[in-house]
Each structure stands twice: as C-alpha cells, then as structure tokens.
Symmetry: D2
Subunit: 179 residues, 4 copies
C-alpha cells in the first residue's frame, strides 16, 4: 500500500487517533529478521538496521512495524521489508502464518524482555530470507549484514534497544544456532 | 483481572470507544481449543461451546476473546478459558508464546477462512489441555466434549460460524490427527 | 551425494543391511511438500508426484526419503527434492530445523494415520517452496501441480497411499488453508 | 515398556547390533526439557540431571534417549522422563508432534552445536512440564531445579556436554525468555 493509498483510506488513523488507541489497546505488529541463506537454507548473515533515534543516539534494529486495518499479516511483512530494505530486496515471505515467537512489548520495562515506551505492542515475529539487493530506506542510516556469531557479540547486543537483541537471539535459536 | 478492576482501569474502553477502534485497527484476540488428554498427551476429546447468537440461532464455538491493554497473552488465554469454562477448569496454559496458527478474521467474508462481521481481528490460536471440571459460563448454553472424529462431522462443522470449524480442523491437524 | 559417492561411503548400507535395520530400529525420514508461492508467500499450487507402485497401481505421493548416516537433515531435504523434481527445481530449503509435523509411519496400519509396510519410519515434514523448473525424475511418472482446493478433492486423496493424503491436508492446515 | 518386555521383544537390539546400526544409520532420539510451571504457564524452574560420566567426571544433562522400534514418539518421551525422574513425576507429554527444534548430534564435533561421540543421533526436542514429585533414577546422581536465569550461568553451561547447554538455551528462547 503506497502512502497515497493510505491517505485515501478512511480506515487509516490520524496521528491523534493512533495516539489515543495506543493508550487503550494492544497494537498488532510484525517483526521480521532478514537473513541471507545459501542453497541448503543455512543462514550466512542477518540484516540489522542502523537507525538514528529521536534522542540522537544511533541504535540497531530489526525490521518492525504495525499491521494496518484490513491488511493481511503477510502483506504487512512485505510492506515493512520493502519500506526498510527497498523495493529490490526480494523477500521470501513465510508460507505459514505460524510465527517463531510472539514478542509482547510493554510500555513498562521489565514485564517481558521487550519494551516500547510508546505503547503495548504485540508482535508476530518471522525470519525472512531476502534474495535481492537491499538498500536502507526511510530513517534507516545503514543496513549491516552480520554473521550469526557476530550477532551474539555483546557490543552488537548492547546497541539493540527495546529487546531487539533478545528477539535476534531467539531467532538464531529457532534457526538451530548456538545462542 | 476482575470486572471491577476493569472498570477502574483508565485504559479500559467504553463500548463506543471499542466500536470506534474496531473501525480503525486490527484487534488482537486469542483463540483456545480446549482438549482432554490422557497421560501420554493423546487428545481424547475437544471442548466446543454451544452459544445462542444475537439472531436466536444456536451455534458452536471455540473459546475466543480479546487481549486487553497491558494484559499478557497468557493471562488473556487464562481469563477467557475461566470465563467460558468456569473457575475449576484447571487449564494448562501453553508454556511457549508460539501459537499453532494465527487466524485473521476479516469483516469481509472470503478474504481468509475466518470472518467476523464486527471487526478485523487477528487471533493467536492455542490448543489448551484442561484437567478440571468445566461448566459453561456466561452466555454459553452448554459445553460438549467431542472426539476428534466427531469434530470432523459435517453436521458439527456446519454449526460452527466465523471459520471456527476451519480453526478446529487446523488444530486437529497440528495435533497429528487426520483431517 | 551422487550414487557413486554413496557406493564409496563405508557408512552406506547394503540392501540386506538396510532390511535388517528396518526390523530393529525406527528409520529417520524427511517428507517435503513442494509448493509454488507468489511474492506474498501465498501458496498457489502443491506439487504431487505420480508413481507406479510395485503392484502396477499408479498412486500420488509427496517427496519423501531416508536421512543417511552423517547427513544433515537440510541436505537430505535438498537431495530428495533434486532426486524427484530434478536439478533445476531451485527448492528453498527451510531455514529452521523445526518441522511443521512429525509423521510416524508404522508397518501395522491404524497405529497412526501413516503407514509403511516396509518399516517403522519417523519423518520430519516440511513445506518447501520451489522456484525453478521441475521435471519428474527416477521412478516418478509425472508431477502434477494442484491448487490447495484440488488437493482436498476426495479423488485425489483416495490416490494417496501410506497417509500422504493426511500429511498433505496437515500441510495445508499449517499454511492457513481450510481443510 | 518394562525392561522385561524389551527382552522378550524380537525387535529389540543386542548391544552388538545397536553398535553396528550406529555405524550405519542416524539413530532417532527424543530430548526433553523438564520444567516447573505456574498456573499461567510461566516457567519457574528447569530440571537438569547431574550424571557421572564414564570418565568419572560429573556433568549436567537434559532428559534424552532413544526411540525404540514400534514405539510412538510420545511413549518414548514418557518412558525416558519416567526412567530419569521417577514414576511420580507426572509429566505433561506434549499434545502436538511438532518439536520446538530438531537437534542433530554428530560423532564429529563442530558439524552442528550437538555432539555424540557414539553415534549420529537426530533428536526431537520438547519442553515438558512436570507436575509431580521427581527423584533422580538410574545413573543420575541428582536432579537440580534451576531458574531460567540460573540456566544461563556460564558455570552451568560449562558443565553441560554434547551441546545440551545450547539445547537448554534454545528451549528457553522458545519459551520467550531472554537468552
């Protein structure tokens, strides 16, 4: 769905309406862990975004975003991957609706490993192989491809906010990697 | 969370606010398929609720309900099972957040196998063994325990609305049963 | 692994040794359900093999085969897909070792929905998108691409032996399809 | 299946036959991670066995063992839990055949995170809540209940051989814990 279509959609929320809803309802998200795979399905690298936060601090993030009203989960995964990795990323959207985990982001830190100061978000998390050319879009400064071992580096983990470091490790565990 | 606590909670929604949100956002649900299991974990029976619909028609349903703001998914599963099966059902809430499927209910029939005329709901679906005494509560007329084979009966399936018949078959497939 | 390599491998079993092992141990298998998917990950077709059985009867089958000694599960999936669909099938081997189900084939019919008169086989089952050209190989007469709805046709199901019809339905359920 | 029944079973393997099979075939195993859960399904503790190895060294292990010929996977899980935790452990055997992961133990270290010097074993791994009294049996010296945080302690991890430390972390990740 292009920004233009979104503007035309009466189901779309104004900033004020979204803020109001965030005070009242859990918001449905998708999290995607982009990976490079070889012909045998073995993961060689994980794509991590570098973002400039509102506080001017640079942090690392996975692909993440809201599911819109009337939007299929698979379309939300595709839309957020294209938004962050560009239109040539050729993501292989999962064939099954079963996520590898469900991450519950609470505005209060410590309820779960996941934290979002803006809202209570519940996110369906998927590992998504991408086969094409990726170029960071929007507010992403850069996209780094890390080996599974590099993902576990304490320095990398420390740069991941909101529990994305935990989600990345859970994804690697799901892929059969040591964590 | 008791009804009293809910009333006190400023995060709780009035009927009007919920109706407004339903026009704008996907609403997060949990679906639970209550089952009786033997010591080996084999399912002997599936619990299906008999409900009187707003149109006076009786239909069969699985346990289903909304996740509240600030509520953990596991607490929502427990709350809805207690609400429908009573406080002595002793449900064994799943230890992992990974659902066996995610059911996308659309207000427009035919987009997915799941349909909800009131809203776009996205539901995390779990199979939940219950070990205690179950007695239908609230607006449920009865709770029937069906064998896996009985669940597949076309008559039973025809009495299940909104795609709950499909969800029941998907649950049985996940349990290793022929469907 | 080519047939030649297999002959050189001291870990490889003679026909007699394999027959003896089959009397004593569960044999590890992989089952693969080949699918065609669109850019959104939605399944448009399922690949089903047509085989001539030892009794001269034609039956429909999924891709299935043994895991060899010292072979990774992902390599076994790849090997059997190439063996049955040809070297240009470009299968997208699953990135996670978690199968969607485990099918237990017993020599005695009725213990589970799965049956193999030759042996007790336990099979890790995966859905595998294939992106390339498929041409049936070996003893497969043909490869038919069926829509998910066609897969559920009683005529198609009746032509699938050993419980492969059940496994196909379980795969469709895992993919979110009505079954 | 009692030891006596096993002796009577012509399908049972002598030590020599098992050793021969181990040179030729992947051997099917189940791994079980015993956990204590509260009413909400949250894991409070993980059961880890203390064993005396053949080299006189004490190590920590998860419940693990072979699937026998003609044995259902769920019966193998139950049998090994009873063998290691005693007959009063009241394990809640998983209702679905879908394991949270498949661990491939290779005789050559480094092929996967899992290693078994005796054989190529492929293990279906499950998290199993136990509700009753557990007392270590057979060659287990003790059973320790560790909190999820204690499981991640480098000292505990260092005492787990054959990749069981990795499997324990993968189980915790599947349960939604930080790892």
């Amino acid at each position: 769905m292009s920004p233009l279509e979104l503007d035309r959609d009466p189901a779309w929320l104004s900033r004020e309406e979204l803020d109001a809803a965030r005070q009242r309802l859990p918001i449905l998200y998708v999290d995607a862990v982009p990976v490079r795979v070889d012909d045998r399905g073995a993961v060689s690298a994980v794509g991590v975004l570098l973002r400039l936060g509102p506080d001017g601090r640079v942090s690392r993030e996975l692909v993440s975003g809201r599911v819109l009203h009337h939007e299929r989960v698979r379309d939300a995964i595709l839309r957020h991957l294209e938004k962050d990795l560009g239109p040539m990323a050729l993501p292989r959207v999962p064939v099954s609706p079963q996520p590898f985990t469900v991450a519950e982001y609470f505005p209060t830190p410590g309820v779960t490993p996941f934290h979002d100061p803006r809202q209570h978000a519940v996110s369906l998390a998927f590992v998504v192989p991408v086969a094409g050319d990726c170029s960071p879009q929007n507010d992403a400064l850069d996209l780094t491809w890390l080996t599974p071992d590099q993902c576990l580096d304490p320095g990398v983990q420390a740069e991941m906010d909101r529990g994305h470091g935990v989600l990345l490790r859970q994804a690697l565990a799901h892929l059969g990697h040591p964590v």
